[in-house]
């Protein structure tokens, strides 16, 4: 199973490192990253594998949200099923 982590906010050093570390600590493996910086605005979509996640998924969601708050970013973590059901017949 996969999940999508979206990160938006003002650009600063070490955003990807911070998010990646939090993923690694929870046994979440990064599959794909697409990231841009427009002027000072940072936007990233990360697709991750949650098959070997070591904490309950909802706790991981909370942890990522908290990380976002700490760094002044908006971090949203969503299970892939919502995208699959909405865009695939």
């Amino acid at each position: 199973m996969k999940a999508v982590i979206s990160v938006t906010g003002r650009d600063s050093m070490g955003i990807i490192a911070g998010v990646s570390n939090a993923c690694a600590e929870c046994g979440v493996n990064i599959i794909d990253i697409s990231q841009t910086v427009l002027k000072e605005y940072f936007a990233m979509i990360m697709i991750v594998d949650i098959d070997r996640i070591t904490v309950p998924f909802v706790d991981f969601v909370d942890r990522m949200t908290a990380l976002g708050k700490e760094r002044g970013l908006e971090i949203h973590t969503m299970h892939e099923d919502i995208f699959n059901s909405m865009h695939n017949i």
């Binding site: 996969k2 979509i45 949203h76 969503m78 919502i82």
Partner: protein, 452 residues
């Protein structure tokens, strides 16, 4: 593999276009609670609701978090109380309302629907006693919603019941006068009431339903309005296609949430209700969809046609997205809960008569409309009778939820708070319906051939 544009589209719908699941409603049958002792009945009702719905709110919150999709309301609907109360006294029925309110409060759901009666053809003594206590029940409880089905295409219109509901509305307004007559916002008069509707105030758990069931209502007027805006000047055929595609996506999300909730709670999945349900928030308005189609203001000539097209396209797109569709499924046009409708009434572009015409082509009916506090009871009954007749003749659900706000007159504004919003008081006809309503009896069921 997940496509980047699809991901961004979904995230954008949720964050910027107010896409959400409006309600996850658990229906619970109360038939096995029946008892000839009022207190025993209430105890059984309380125990059953607490047991069956124990995990409803935590489960919905969990789904909300995992999928990142807001679930605004968690609600309950129960078997129409008039059917399980039987020979109880008026006090007995009032106790049931208080019991429902207590259970809902403890479970953390915001409304429980089903303080209801089905009297389309006639009224049992029990239904009559229950209906008599509706005003008091709505004034002393916070979360209990009530409805009365006064007509159906098969049975015709029970005009005695129409007269009684007018009285209930006026009395409820008086009893909750200190709170903007808010009690009336929790009371709906129906024709052809659906038995699996998840939306309040008209939800109840119909007699053909299973022991427990999960029904989900989606929302998303903001998503449809944005899609139309982006499409620019296109023809109606292109517009209808666009709305269908958008409704499909919105409904798929409802289907996912309904299936997950059903699986996790171990309760059968009933239906997804496709309704476009607005809120007073900016960017979440059905009126603004109609205006995006090219109307200067909702209420302008063309409004009924625009709404008819919208409603039909939403149903066509949504039906394919869900395995079971039901409830009210259409576009809601409540005045106080829709920023565009509020604006249109305030500037005089939208009248109650135009709203009535609009209800002939979309779901529900005259909804959340504040009328002057001194509106005669017979006039309220006349408004109900007109709206109900539209439903009966056209074989569709219609409903009336009007609020004669005590001590308010045309031009005043009344606020109900939260999702119930606020509304300018709309003028109603000053000509009397008194003799018409006083006739009583039943309007016969309509003929189904010779259609014109």
């Amino acid at each position: 593999m997940l496509d980047r544009n699809s991901i961004l589209e979904t995230i954008n719908m949720i964050r910027d276009e107010n896409l959400d699941i409006r309600t996850v409603t658990m229906g619970i049958s109360l038939f096995d609670c029946v008892s000839d002792d009022g207190d025993r009945l209430c105890d059984k009702i309380y125990d059953k609701i607490m047991r069956r719905a124990e995990k409803l709110v935590p489960t919905a919150c969990e789904i909300e978090k995992e999928y990142g999709i807001p679930i605004i309301n968690k609600r309950l609907s129960v078997t129409p109380v008039s059917m399980i109360g039987g020979g109880l006294s008026e006090d007995g029925y009032l106790k049931i309302a208080k019991t429902l309110d207590r259970a809902a409060g403890e479970l953390g759901v915001n409304f429980v629907g089903g303080f209801s009666a089905m009297v389309q053809k006639g009224m049992t003594e029990g239904a009559r006693r229950m209906m008599r206590v509706i005003p008091e029940a709505l004034s002393v409880t916070e979360r209990v919603c009530s409805s009365v089905n006064v007509a159906s295409t098969k049975a015709g219109i029970n005009m005695d019941a129409v007269a009684m509901t007018g009285k209930i509305i006026k009395e409820t307004a008086r009893r909750t006068a200190d709170r903007g007559s808010i009690g009336c916002a929790k009371f709906v008069v129906f024709a052809n009431a659906p038995e699996d509707n998840p939306f309040m105030a008209g939800a109840f758990h119909g007699i053909g339903e299973p022991e427990t069931v999960i029904n989900v209502g989606v929302s998303g007027p903001g998503v449809v309005a944005s899609a139309i805006r982006r499409a620019g000047d296109c023809s109606f055929s292109a517009l209808a296609d666009l709305i269908k595609k958008t409704a499909f996506k919105i409904t798929r999300m409802g289907q996912l949430v309904a299936c997950e909730a059903s699986r996790r709670l171990g309760v059968p999945f009933g239906i997804v209700d496709l309704s476009l349900a607005p809120t007073p928030a900016v960017g979440d308005s059905v009126a603004h969809i109609l205006e995006e189609m090219g109307l200067e203001s909702v209420g302008a000539p063309g409004t009924t046609a625009a709404l008819a097209m919208l409603n039909d396209a939403v149903k066509k797109g949504g039906t394919m997205a869900s395995s079971f569709v039901g409830g009210l499924s259409g576009a809601f046009i409540p005045v106080s809960e829709d920023a565009g409708m509020i604006e249109a009434v305030a500037k005089g572009a939208l009248s109650i008569e135009k709203l009535e015409a609009m209800t002939a082509v979309c779901s529900v009916g005259l909804d959340m409309i504040a009328i002057p506090g001194d509106t005669e009871e017979a006039t309220v009954c006349g408004i109900i009778a007109d709206e109900i007749a539209i439903g009966v003749i056209n074989t569709k659900t219609t409903a009336v939820r009007v609020i004669p706000v005590c001590e308010k007159k045309v031009g005043d504004t009344v606020s109900f708070g939260g999702l119930l919003g606020y509304a300018p008081v709309i003028p109603v006809s000053r000509y009397s319906s008194e003799k018409f309503i006083a006739r009583g009896g039943r309007i016969p069921a309509p003929i189904h051939s010779l259609k014109n």
